[in-house]
Structures are given as C-alpha cells and as structure tokens.
C-alpha cells in the first residue's frame, strides 16, 4: 500500500525551520539571560518556561485568538505585513518556536552560567570584543549544551500535537504534520497508515536521542 509521505516531509520541514530560527534567537538570548542582572529576570525565566507546564491546547488557543483576522493583532499582521498565521505553515513555525523555546534555552543558559566568569574577562583584557569572545571562547565551551538543546528543540517540534491542532488544523500540504495525520487516520479507522506514521516517528525520535547521547559521551572524553 502506498502511503502519503507529505505529512512526514512537512513535519521535518517544520522541525528544521523551527530549529534554525530557535538557534539564532535562543543562543544569544540564553547568553543574555545567563548574564543579565535586571530585576524582572525571574519573570522572564517564568515566561520562557511556561510552555513546559501549560497544556499545549492553552497556548494554541491563545495563539489562535491572536492570529485570527478578527483580533487586532491578527488584523494588524494581515494589513501591514500581509501575514495570515492562523491555519498556515508560517503560523505553525511561530507557534513551534514559542513552544520549543525552553527546550533550547534551559540547557544552554545553564551551561553559560556554569562557565567561569574569568574566561570572558580574560578575553576582554586580551583586547577581544564581546562578539569575538562569544564566538571563540564562550560558544565552543558550551558545545555539548548547544547540541543537546538544538536536538531537544528539534525532537520536541517533531512530537508536537496540541498546539498544531489548535492553530494549524488539518490542511494537507500546509499544516497536516505527522502527529496530526496519525490522529486523523485513527479517527477514520485507517490503522495501517497510522501505524506507518507512528512507526517512522518512533524510530526517528530514538535515532535522534541516541545520536545526542552518543555525541555527548564522545565530547566528554
């Protein structure tokens, strides 16, 4: 029997795009969070961690409200940028970024905090700019955390269901990712197809995690 590969491709695309965006935003943000002394730091940290405890449907519900053209934010997005985020791939990417943010930020922030302060100070007094210090001294010394943070964010995006269902719906080629497809196939009693998608996700997740633990063990040697 021939299965529709589209949901799997869409899942991988979503996870890949989300991970790239998260890496670019999340790594500098983690550094900032590890070093900042602003008073509202606990509030910022709580906000970042919210997706860990909230039911995905709650997040999805509010995002759906905000993205809908009737809401002022969705209206503004539509009018000024021509962006319709509800029931679209772009909306899924944004929601996934928010939802997977803590999975990248937590390990990376902890790793930055564990670096001795004297490393950056030594680089500064050797005449190196903040950027040079960040790239050549700080980042290479948090490599294991970068790896596990990136992979966790990727894997978590692959496994997302609630948020995607709320704001993405089930549009083929647009928002019908693998986790949604499984649910859909089971609903229509098409167990063979559901089994296929589920099996692929199962194996994929295992391989990803195996790779992380394997690489981390190698890095520690």
């Amino acid at each position: 029997m021939q299965y529709d590969m589209q949901p799997l491709w869409l899942t991988l695309q979503l996870a890949f795009v989300t991970t790239v965006i998260l890496f670019c935003i999340g790594v500098p943000f983690s550094w900032w969070l590890a070093n900042t002394r602003i008073r509202i730091k606990p509030a910022v940290e709580a906000m970042v961690s919210m997706p860990l405890v909230l039911p995905p449907s709650v997040l999805g519900f509010y995002l759906l409200l905000a993205f809908s053209p009737e809401h002022w934010f969705g209206h503004w997005l539509d009018r000024s940028l021509g962006l319709r985020l509800a029931f679209s791939f772009k909306g899924l990417v944004l929601a996934s970024c928010i939802f997977s943010f803590p999975f990248l930020v937590h390990p990376v922030q902890a790793a930055f905090q564990n670096l001795p302060k004297s490393l950056a100070e030594a680089a500064y007094s050797l005449g190196k700019s903040k950027w040079q210090t960040f790239v050549h001294v700080l980042l290479p010394n948090v490599k294991p955390a970068l790896l596990s943070g990136t992979v966790l964010a990727f894997a978590h995006t692959v496994g997302e269901f609630g948020v995607v269902l709320m704001i993405g719906g089930n549009l083929p080629n647009e928002t019908r990712v693998a986790s949604i497809a499984i649910y859909d196939e089971v609903e229509s009693l098409n167990y063979a197809a559901a089994n296929f998608y589920a099996g692929v996700l199962f194996v994929l997740s295992f391989i990803i995690l195996l790779a992380v633990y394997f690489l981390n063990r190698k890095a520690q040697k």
Binding site: P116, S118, L119, A123, Y124, S125, L126, G127, V137
Partner: protein, 299 residues
Amino acid sequence: MSAALTINAKIYKLLQGVNGSFALDASLQVGKGEFVALYGPSGVGKTTLLRCLAGLDHPASGEIVAQTQGQTQVWFNSAQRIQLEPQHRRVGYMFQDYALFPNMTVRDNLAFALRKGASKQRVDELLAMMELGALQHHKPMTLSGGQRQRVALARALASEPEMLLLDEPLSALDASIRARLQDEILRLQRSMGITTIMVSHDVGEVYKLASRVLVMESGKIVQQGTPVEVFSAGQTSGKFRFTGEILVIEPMDVMCALTVLVGNQIVRVVAMPDEAANLQVGDAVMLVSKAFNPMVMKL
C-alpha cells in the same frame, strides 16, 4: 618590547566582607617598570583593586590615569563618567584560576591573545621562552598547575601589555615549583621592564619579587615601602620571630611541651607551666628566639 606605563589611581568602592561592608579607599602611584606588591590578608580588597585597574570592576568614585610614552590616558573618572573598556587598557591580567580557554590548545591560547596584525612568530618566541614547546598542542585540562601558570603568563604577554597584573599568581603551587616560577617572573619582568602589580599574601614572595610593597588592611593602604623597610621595620634584632598556631599542648613533669605549626613546619618547644596555663590548642602564638648562633647552610 612595548613601552611600560605609569599609573595614578584613586579608588573608592564599598565592598562586602565577612564582617559586614567596608570601604575600599586607596590611592596608589606606580612608576614605569616598577614591580609593586599588594600585600595583606584575604578579603581586604586587594583583588578588587587589581580588577578596578584592569577595568573588570568599576570603582564607585575616583580616578585612574595611565601614562605611556608621554601620552596621558584617563581610564576611569567618576566625575566625567569616563570608563575605558578593559579591551582598551592594554593590561595583561593573570587570574588566580588562570582562566585558560579549555577549548584551545596551549598554542591557540597564545595565538588568540595576539593583537591584530601581530606576527605569528611571537607565539613561537613565547613558547620557547616559557619552555612550553613540547606542550604546545596540549589542552589546558591536561596540564599541571605549574604548566598552566606558565601558559597563563605567556598568554598575558602575547597581547603585548603595557602593564602586568598578577592575582596571587603562585598561590596554588607547591614550594619548589613556586620558587622556580618566581625566578621566571622576575627574569621576564626585568628583561621587559614592564610595569607589574602583584597581589600576594606570602611575605617570601613579596621579598623576592617586589621592589615596593603596599600593605592593605580592610580596604586601606596602611603602610608602604621596600619589602625590607616594611617587613623588618624595628625588627632587625638579634632574634628570630615566628608566628604559628598551637596544635598540641602536653603537660610534662615541670614543663609543658607545645607543638606549633609555623608556616608548613611543625616544631616542638617547651614552655613554663604558667606560660602554658593561658594557652589553648588553636591559639596563634609568636615564638621568639635568640639568633646569635644559628647554623647557616647553603641550599
């Protein structure tokens, strides 16, 4: 070699100590090519003073002015809100934990420190000078304490600093390596004529290296002069004086035997029972002995 600089600093900053807060309130002048030691017990603000000079900490008020090759540069001025970044101070700072970059080899640590446009040859020169050639492809994790200290010193020099700031450079090392590295620091400092300020709480080290010592107590400089002036003032007598800590008190027939830790030596002395009566294990004591006939042996 790069030109040495002179420093004029007035620094004020509130610090948190074990017994509440106290003010770091010190002014110091350091001349070109001088080797100055900041001496005092831990927690009196020596390291903070050094960090203020490097620009890693900022005084609450005060002024730091550096002069090099006839040019005057204001590093810090609280009234004018000037605060020069550590990047622009041309200071070689040696951290107590050495702060070597764990991701780079010894060679890369030095190469990273080079200034823009500096010749790569400088790395080879420094590696040779500090006898690090054989270790150049090792990561800092695999080095011993003494080797790390040498790498840290070489790295500080690689950036062609005009001043060296050494924060208890040798405190983590054992006595024999310490003596060797002291010689090395002294040789480098003399040959380059580089202005150097060192934090230390070791009298021997200060004697050996520094041409001038500033004694600090709870944030203030309370005494300064050459090490001989400071440490032997009024004490150049025919007596040895050692301070130590009582480890054991053993009453004997008519006397009392005290076991005392002096530096890292344990000595056993006798005391009269009335002397020993008000002593307890753990007390700090001073041992005074006549020195008219010591045995002197060359090492």
